[in-house]
């Protein structure tokens, strides 16, 4: 327990812990170290670049993957498709946390009467973590519209979203659950002792603490979700990967794939850096408050 006046955490140690991985890479003694690191990096990159460009096969590689003309030609369609990826990413980011939280909360209800709810939650997570995502996408994206049941949406995009949500919320529910399990049992007791119902105890005392416990893990899931939305290309949805594929099959040039690659990286690398930074800061804060 935090106890004021019992000595503060070592500030030097703290500021070191607060650095993220990038900071970690540059960690040396002062400006001299940073200069040396920068110099050696430049030399290393230059040597690697020269070696690659000098290699006899480079012109072939460049024409196939890094062709300026093809890049410009493929760009509009691939970028247009990428908006669909972002749209799908956005919708699933809304749906997944909510579905997952319901599944996780259902599993942590106590008492014999709630057994069916717990069972349902276990079956859900086992089932949807056990099915390959691509199989689920094919099954729902092609299978359900083929039923032609009136009233059911027939958009493959919609069923792709459903498949992503089912699969990812099963994983996310497990993350939430580990967060819920990490909240001490005494917190539940003291919430129940106030006369709160099970649901109120979860809602006000347990879940807020649980989510705080698992934010870094959740953000890693976001990074991987951002890439997995590309899987709906198998349904023929003309998103970035599909558009790149179409361009390639027309021109036999693969630069369009590089366009799509760059677009995904433009989102995922900043996201990864942010997760890294956040995790380091979170760890520093925790070590501070637990002293």
């Amino acid at each position: 327990m935090a106890e004021r006046g019992r000595g503060h955490p070592d500030t030097v140690e703290l500021s070191e812990r607060r650095r993220s991985a990038i900071g970690e890479m540059f960690r040396e003694e002062g400006a001299k170290g940073a200069l040396l690191a920068a110099l050696s990096t430049i030399v290393f990159v230059a040597v690697a670049w020269v070696l690659v460009v000098q290699s006899p096969n480079w012109p072939k590689i460049q024409a196939q993957f890094f062709n300026g003309e093809d890049f410009a030609a493929a760009w509009p369609d691939v970028v247009g498709g990428f908006w669909l990826n972002l749209e799908l990413f956005g919708y699933s980011m809304l749906a997944i946390p909510i579905v997952a939280l319901i599944i996780a909360a259902a599993r942590s209800f106590r008492g014999a009467a709630f057994f069916p709810i717990r069972l349902l939650s276990v079956v859900y997570t086992d089932l949807f973590r056990g099915i390959p995502l691509i199989l689920l996408i094919l099954l729902l994206g092609f299978g359900v519209p083929a039923l032609a049941i009136p009233g059911l949406p027939r958009s493959v995009m919609f069923w792709g979203l459903v498949a992503l949500t089912l699969s990812y919320s099963a994983y996310t529910a497990e993350i939430y659950r580990s967060g819920i399990d990490a909240v001490p049992e005494s917190q539940r007791s003291s919430a129940r002792a106030l006369g709160l119902t099970q649901w109120q105890a979860l809602r006000f005392a347990i879940i807020p603490q649980a989510i705080r416990n698992v934010v870094p893990a959740l953000m890693n899931t976001v990074v991987s979700l951002q890439k997995d939305v590309a899987l709906i290309s198998v349904l023929g949805v003309r998103e970035a990967v599909r558009e790149a594929q179409i361009y390639t099959s027309r021109t036999f040039n693969y630069t369009s794939y590089i366009v799509a690659t760059l677009l995904f990286l433009a989102i995922s690398i900043p996201l990864t850096r942010y997760v890294d930074w956040y995790t380091a800061r979170d760890r520093a804060r925790r070590s501070q408050s637990s002293v």
Binding site: A2, S186, S189, S190, A191, L194, G195, L196, F204, Q209
Partner: protein, 248 residues
Amino acid sequence: MTHKLELENVHKSFGKKKVLTGVDLAVDEHEVICLIGPSGCGKSTILRCVDLLEEIDDGEIRLDGSAVSGPGVNANEIRRRIGIVFQSFNLFPHMSVLDNVTLGPRRALGLDRALAEDKAASMLERFGLGDKIIDYPNQLSGGQQQRAAIVRALMSEPELLLLDEVTSALDPELVGEVLAVIRELAEQGMTMVLATHEMGFARDVANRVYFLHEGRVLESAAPDELFSHPTQDRTRQFLKRVNDAGRL
């Protein structure tokens, strides 16, 4: 006359471990009862069973003469009538002191936010925490946290207050401030059951002291009598050990 709280032949096991093996106990209104005994004798379990945080295996617990253990009882309703304070405070770390103490009244009793906060502010003021209202638990000393936990338990105006070794997790210099609060509550006539290792304090405030051994009450008496003339060997041994450790 019916007692405020009554335990009759209460049994409780955790798995194969028998923790309570037939506890009998009675508390009258405005009485202060202290439970003493070696670690693991079942003191905390009794309090948790009374607040229905644990289900008893056998026997009966009665509040104002009506059974609260067993089926057909609205446990949330009973818990709202009883306050409990834990050894390690158990404040909610993600909430300010104000939110900690108003959570119960607002959510369990349905009290209006403004009303609950007014009440909380005056209670916190009274217990010397007037300037800690917006602080978070980890910004408070142990003694302040425990006083906040007592305020939290008192907010719903319980008929019975259970205190589970509330000073055991505190630094020695912080014990006094918490005991002073309990003494004040006793003087105001709060009905309380304390599990405690503070023998001197038990002797001071208790109307009756129960000595527990291996999950049952071995003897109970007025504090002066129990501490000065224990009738059981086990009690004598326990008190001697406590005395040797300088805790009496």
